[in-house]
């Protein structure tokens, strides 16, 4: 198993650092999947995570000018590593004005992801900073749990409002109740509701717009029959999910920068699926309904 990659472009490095920061806020421990074309940060829906799952994907050629990997075997040309997300983001943070950043898989006493940074300095010699991040190699037999989650057929699909606004609203609501209802309809309306014995608070977002079906389902071919079913439905009918507010807040807190695209798919009483695009990096985040 081998992995070796290098970033020399400052903008790419900053973008990669931001992605890593976001992952660190979303998941304490996550899986890094390395394949010839992509890097994925994965959180699978174990009970330990409260049923939340995450799938983040980036095309390696958008970031690295050198990228070499050799997977577990020829047929399974992939590497799955488990690491503490914060270790990676902290290491990348020290690479602010780097001339070059190298990441490679090493084995120094135990398996590590070594991040090596060549920093610009005043003098002729550069400073070299190295971080050895301990990792765990995930065996082949566990890979099946770490595959891309299937996007379920949503009842409602809607573009999200400005995430910063959503976050400040949810932050205040958290003080009142842990149980939040997120509901939306095909008329561009999204509501966040909390309810206790004493008080009921609802925040209404309007005119958000609903994405067309081909955006929602991406490359999956659309069957015309189902399309007509959608049109028959009352556009004002709300699909809703009851979720743990803290999970939503964690997701929103991870979004430091406003994404290029942000939409939300609701499966009535089952789950809410957030689908974001940060420039060229896609992030999918699934929050299950409270049982």
């Amino acid at each position: 198993m081998k992995f070796r990659a290098k970033i020399v472009d400052g903008a790419c490095l900053n973008h990669f650092t931001r992605i890593s920061n976001m992952i660190a806020k979303l998941a304490k421990t996550c899986t890094l999947r390395i394949s010839p074309d992509k890097l994925n940060f994965i959180l699978c829906d174990k009970l330990a995570n409260g049923g939340v799952s995450m799938w983040c994907e980036l095309e390696q050629e958008n970031f690295f000018n050198e990228f070499q990997m050799e997977g577990v075997s020829a047929e399974n040309n992939e590497i799955y590593l488990e690491l503490t997300s914060e270790n990676l983001s902290r290491a990348l943070k020290t690479a602010q004005n780097a001339r070059a950043l190298k990441i490679k898989l090493t084995n120094k006493h135990f398996p590590c992801l070594t991040v090596s940074v060549e920093l610009l300095s005043m003098s002729s010699s550069s400073r070299i900073v190295t971080h050895d991040i301990p990792i765990k190699v995930i065996p082949r037999k566990l890979w099946k749990d770490l595959q891309e989650p299937v996007v379920p057929d949503p009842d409602v699909s809607i573009y999200l409002p400005v995430l910063k606004t959503m976050k400040s609203v949810v932050e205040k609501m958290k003080n009142i109740s842990n149980h939040l209802v997120i509901e939306a309809n095909l008329d561009g309306e999204l509501n966040l509701k909390i309810e206790t014995e004493l008080v009921c608070v609802t925040t209404h977002f309007k005119d958000l717009g609903n994405p067309p079906l081909d955006v929602v389902f991406k490359c999956i071919p659309i069957i015309l029959a189902s399309e007509s079913t959608h049109e028959d439905r009352n556009v004002e009918h709300m699909a809703e999910v009851h979720i743990d507010i803290r999970k939503l807040l964690q997701f929103l807190a991870g979004q430091q920068v406003n994404p290029t695209k942000a939409l939300c798919n609701i499966v009535n009483n089952k789950m809410v699926h957030f689908d974001l695009l940060h420039e060229d990096v896609s992030l999918q985040y699934f929050i299950p309904a409270l049982s």
Binding site: T84, N87, R90, A91, K93, T94, K108, H109, F110, C112, S121, M122, S123, S124, S125, S126, R127, I128, V129, T130, H131, D132, I133, P134, K136
Partner: protein
């Protein structure tokens, strides 16, 4: 006339003073105010006696500086000088010197003076429009400690801009306990020291290599790798933000203390940190102060028991002035605390010419399950006296030389005056 201190500072001087206090607070929860003709020294030592900090403000730093010591005449014409013995708690002082930037801007003058009759230190801030803020803080009567460390004979000396140190420090998390400094004549490396946490699968190991041309001064006598406490390193960085002088680092082999200094004419700061001794550099010579990690407790006790302490492996600072009592109570608490930590026995030989307290101090936080006590090298402390102009010119395998019996003879008379209680010397091994 009692021993006293009185000084006046401007707003910007208060900022430097406050930074000094903040820097020292990284080492200990208490510090001494120690005025002398050299200036006002703030001194502190940490609870495990493995780090010592001293910031000396020269008399010209202040707008006004006045101090005095009490001189006791005795028949033998051996006057004894009683300096101010003032120890303050950081908890009381830190809140007073908070928001240093706003203090610098808003105060016209700051006055600090002592009232020995009431064991109080008074700190007054004078603002515009006649507003005055006064703090009265009780101090504990306590003899300051001082470390004797000759920087000039260190094999390795570096001088760096604080910026470099700040850049290095961000590499490590605040949970990092120790860092290792590795130097060769050509380069410098600061790295996390994870010796014991090799088993912990979550610790990131970080290193930074810096070329020698980034240093203001780079003189390395021999390839060295020393390990010391990270938290205390941050202390001097705090202080360096107040001055713009470079930081000098003086060190030798592992086990021997490391000194970090800032000297900008008006203020001189010294932080002496113990370093981890490794087995290779363990003493074969009796003069050495380092003990290996693997030395068993029983060995240590046996070695010390029954031997005449003077002139032996443990060396003491010889004193020309009258010996003082140093924290008799505190010594005891230290001993008991250390014994509870499982350190080897403290050996105190009562009534001897030079008493030696020896302690093996384990690292501030022992890694659970670790069998070896990590030991830091020795530092010697002596009572501060008016004749502290002694200059030790020793070959550098020891910090201080053994006390000679002749010198102590001179002090016999004085000792009697103090009920035969002698200065106690602390050694940290």
């Amino acid at each position: 006339m009692a021993a006293m201190l009185k000084c006046v500072m401007s707003g910007s001087q208060v900022k430097v003073f406050g930074k000094a206090v903040q820097a020292l607070s990284r080492i200990s929860d208490e510090f001494w105010l120690d005025p002398s003709k050299k200036g006002l020294a703030l001194r502190c030592v940490n609870s495990s006696r493995s780090a010592y900090g001293c910031v000396l403000f020269s008399p010209v730093f202040f707008q006004h500086y006045q101090w005095s010591a009490l001189v006791k005449m005795s028949e033998n014409e051996l006057d004894t000088t009683l300096h101010l013995k003032c120890k303050l708690g950081m908890k009381s002082i830190l809140p007073i010197f908070r928001c240093l930037n706003s203090l610098e801007r808003n105060i016209e003058k700051c006055r600090i003076f002592t009232r020995s009759d009431k064991c109080k230190v008074v700190i007054q801030f004078f603002y515009r429009h006649g507003i005055k803020r006064t703090h009265n803080i009780c101090f504990q009567e306590s003899q300051p400690l001082q470390v004797i460390f000759d920087k000039n004979v260190c094999t390795n000396t570096l001088m760096i801009q604080p910026r470099l140190l700040a850049d290095a420090i961000v590499l490590f998390t605040s949970s990092q306990e120790e860092v290792t400094l590795a130097v060769t004549p050509l380069n410098f490396c600061l790295k996390s020291s994870n010796e014991e946490s090799m088993d912990l699968s979550n610790a990131v190991h970080s290193e930074m290599f810096v070329g020698s041309d980034e240093f203001d001064f780079f003189q390395i006598g021999m390839d060295t790798e020393i390990t010391f406490c990270f938290k205390e390193l941050k202390g001097i960085l705090t202080f360096s933000e107040a001055t713009h002088a470079p930081i000098s680092i003086y060190f030798d082999f592992p086990g021997k203390p490391l000194a970090l200094s800032i000297d900008d004419m008006l203020v001189e700061a010294n932080f002496i940190l113990a370093t981890l001794a490794d087995e290779q550099s363990r003493a074969s010579s009796p003069q050495s102060l380092c003990l290996s990690q693997k030395r068993k407790r029983s060995d240590l006790i046996e070695k010390k028991a029954g031997k005449n302490v003077t002139g032996q492996a443990l060396e003491c600072i010889s004193k020309k002035a009258a010996p003082r009592r140093l924290y008799p109570k505190e010594t005891l608490t230290n001993i008991s605390a250390l014994e509870n930590c499982g350190s080897p026995a403290m050996k105190r030989v009562d009534g001897d010419v030079s008493e030696v307290s020896e302690s093996s101090v384990s690292n501030t936080e022992e890694v659970p399950g670790s069998l070896c006590l990590r030991k830091f090298s020795c530092m010697f402390f002596g009572a501060v006296s008016s004749d502290q102009q002694e200059h030790f010119n020793h070959p550098f395998d020891s910090l201080a030389r053994a006390s000679d019996s002749e010198e102590d003879m001179n002090n016999v008379c004085c000792r009697k005056e103090f009920n035969g209680s002698d200065a106690k010397y602390f050694c940290i091994i």
